[in-house]
């Protein structure tokens, strides 16, 4: 009786050790690799916009395809900050040495995507800012396993996330 109980516990433990543990380990590595490619893709996309002064539909597509290739779904947040020098020009008027403050106004994901759909690309100018944030939307296997064991929850627990932000260095043609 006592012996068979121990055997049941042993089998249960063995199952965890031999199955769940490697699975967790592999899925964690899988997420690491996904993280790696998400980070690279995000940086590449943003840097390209920054140096060409242009965000194109093709580049955005290529970027989202790279993300999809990791096997997860992502929330992609785009933000374009347009530099507006007009207010600084007004405030500098007439004064001898004053340097007015430059203002920015933002365009967010839906606006940006709409414009990409409509025009095929978005023109930017030197001094504008572009930033991209990527977070995984689905729960990865590693996340599921982890939450099963240590029950981590909460919306902030992203497994794969990358953000990149750059100033635009060229005027688009």
């Amino acid at each position: 009786m006592g012996d068979s109980l121990i055997t049941v516990i042993a089998i249960f433990l063995a199952a965890i050790l031999m199955f769940i543990f490697p699975l967790m380990s592999v899925s964690e590595r899988n997420d690491d690799i996904a993280q790696l490619s998400v980070q690279t893709a995000t940086a590449e996309f943003v840097d390209n916009v920054s140096t060409t002064g242009k965000m194109t539909y093709e580049n955005y597509n290529r970027f989202t395809q790279t993300l999809a290739a990791t096997g997860n779904y992502y929330d992609v947040e785009l933000e374009i900050k347009r530099l507006d020098e007009n207010p600084s020009k007004k405030s500098a008027w007439g004064s001898s040495d004053r340097i007015g403050e430059n203002l920015y106004y933002s365009e967010y994901t839906t606006q940006v995507i709409d414009q990409l759909d409509k025009d095929g690309s978005i023109k930017l100018k030197q001094g504008d800012m572009v930033s991209v944030q990527v977070k995984n939307k689905n729960r990865t296997i590693a996340q599921m396993l982890r939450s099963f064991f240590y029950s981590i929850s909460g919306s902030d627990a992203y497994q794969i996330a990358a953000s990149h932000s750059r100033v635009v260095t060229a005027n688009a043609h």
Binding site: A14, L17, R29, T51, K54, A92, D119, D128, V167, T169
Partner: protein
């Protein structure tokens, strides 16, 4: 063997493997994160540098003179080094630790380029210096015709021609066809005006197409401060531009028509394929020097690329050969592959390219380059950087636009375009009785249009006169916009100062 034992053995094997893989992946991620942060730092430092260059040259009336450009470039380099060092966390902002990893920097200017590279000195140290200026030049040899052509970032060239025993030097702009433009509008700009009686200097709106009036030749009791030539715009500039360009183009067609790409030589060696019979100087509507895809332009960019590549290669490998002795950087420096799109950028814009190599990053070496272009400068006229004002609009509400903005009224006959640097802030130094004060002002009070310039929107009609890469084809512009476009280009190019303007005198006499 019991199941428990099996699982223990399994764990003993799996655990270290898993740990090692985990550590390895983590190291890769760390390296990548570090690499990304270096990328950002490199780009930011480069951006700071080109901004410094733009601002310095903007307020420097002599900035087209080679020696002052050297100073401005040296200032830009030191901005780059300081900014890069500071962001890399080098204490005290000294660039001593950064410099060994920078085998070369490149500055492309209007008619040539500078390379900044470490060169070995006599006592085995490195001197970081700006090398002598290189022109975008190439030699063509065909029979008894011998020609050296200096290219530029646009359609302006200088030709040193030797036919038999006869020499001739000419310079000018190449155009596909003579364009007749309408009368130039009156151009009013805010400029510093000095009162003859009181010597007081104020910023006033004046008609700068009217007359040259200097201290020696004041007009209405005032003169333009400090020298009028800086502001004066000849109202016939555009007409003269097309007339002289057309004369020059005819001369080129006459004398260089038969020259083919295979005749091009540098340092005694042919630089194109032996059977490349592209006729570069057969200028006409099927070879329009202002069209980026024309034979002329493709060849021009190839020549520039070829020259830069040769000299960069030389500089970097010379550094690599001597850097072996350098404790800081045991790295095999070499010129990285620069992709074709980037070459187009480099050979058509004022650019700074910074190479960073051999910098240890995690398990690897950091190896990258940055290309930043100057967006506002006085060195050359980029049609895309000409902004247009419709003077028929109310002065208080009007703004400046790109030519294809729908808010720029195509039916207005008062559209005038200016190179974008004219909309920047200017500083004038006013000396009054030994006391010097600085005053900043704008030549044009108009603000940037929120639709086209600030917001970067496309006009849906743009597709009619732009190709898929965004290149503008002015012949498709409608209404008065076409005339405004040709006038602005002509005027701005005509008033563009180059050190070789002198060789263009003959175009005036014949034209």
């Amino acid at each position: 063997m019991k199941l428990q034992h099996l699982s223990i053995i399994f764990i003993i094997i799996m655990l270290p493997i898993s740990l090692i893989i985990s550590a390895y992946t983590q190291a890769q991620i760390d390296t990548l994160v570090l690499q990304n942060s270096y990328d950002a730092k490199l780009m930011d430092a480069s951006y700071d540098a080109i901004k410094a260059f733009d601002i310095n040259t903007m307020n420097n009336d002599l900035s087209n003179v080679a020696d002052t450009v050297r100073d401005d470039i040296n200032a830009a380099i030191s901005t780059f080094m300081t900014s890069f060092s500071a962001s890399m966390g080098v204490p005290g902002g000294t660039d001593r630790y950064i410099k060994p990893y920078i085998p070369a920097m490149l500055f492309t200017l209007y008619d040539g380029y500078y390379i900044y590279a470490p060169t070995l000195t006599e006592n085995n140290g490195f001197a970081y210096t700006l090398q002598p200026y290189n022109y975008y030049s190439v030699t063509y040899k065909r029979g008894s015709t011998y020609a050296v052509v200096n290219y530029t970032l646009d359609n302006y060239i200088v030709v040193y021609l030797k036919k038999g025993n006869e020499y001739e030097v000419r310079s000018g702009y190449l155009i596909a066809e003579d364009i007749s433009v309408g009368e130039e509008n009156t151009i009013e700009e805010y400029v510093p005006v000095a009162n003859v009686a009181t010597n007081e200097v104020n910023i006033r709106a004046r008609n700068v197409t009217l007359d040259i009036y200097n201290q020696e030749t004041p007009k209405g009791g005032e003169y333009l401060y400090e020298r009028n030539e800086l502001y004066y715009i000849n109202p016939n500039s555009a007409k003269k531009y097309y007339a002289e360009a057309s004369t020059f183009t005819n001369w080129v067609n006459e004398n260089l028509k038969d020259i083919e790409a295979r005749h091009a030589m540098r340092n005694g060696a042919h630089i194109f394929e032996e059977d490349d019979n592209t006729k570069i100087f057969d200028i006409g509507s099927n070879n329009n020097p202002e069209d980026i895809n024309s034979r002329f332009n493709q060849h021009r960019m190839e020549v520039i690329k070829n020259s830069i590549q040769d000299n960069l290669n030389y500089s970097i490998s010379a550094y690599a050969a001597s850097a072996g002795a350098n404790e800081d950087t045991k790295y095999n420096f070499r010129l990285p592959q620069i992709n074709p799109d980037e070459w187009i950028t480099i050979s058509s814009n004022i650019c700074m390219v910074a190479f960073v190599q051999g910098m240890p990053v995690g398990t690897r070496y950091y190896n990258n380059y940055s290309i930043v272009q100057s967006a506002t400068n006085k060195f050359f006229v980029d049609p895309e950087n000409i902004y247009y004002i419709d003077y028929a609009e109310d002065e208080k509400t009007r703004s400046y636009h790109k030519i294809d903005c729908p808010y720029l009224n195509q039916n207005s006959d008062k559209i005038t375009g200016f190179s974008n640097y004219n909309f920047q802030k200017f500083t004038v130094k006013i000396s009054n009785g030994g006391e010097t004060t600085k005053q900043t002002y704008y030549r044009h009070r108009e603000g940037a249009c929120y639709y086209c310039i600030v917001g970067g929107h496309y006009d849906s009609d743009s597709k009619n006169f732009r190709d898929e890469y965004g290149n503008l084809y002015p012949e498709n512009l409608v209404g008065n916009k076409q005339d405004a476009y040709y006038k602005a280009i002509g005027r701005e190019k005509y008033n563009q100062y180059t050190t070789t303007n002198y060789f263009g005198e003959k175009n005036k006499q014949e034209g």
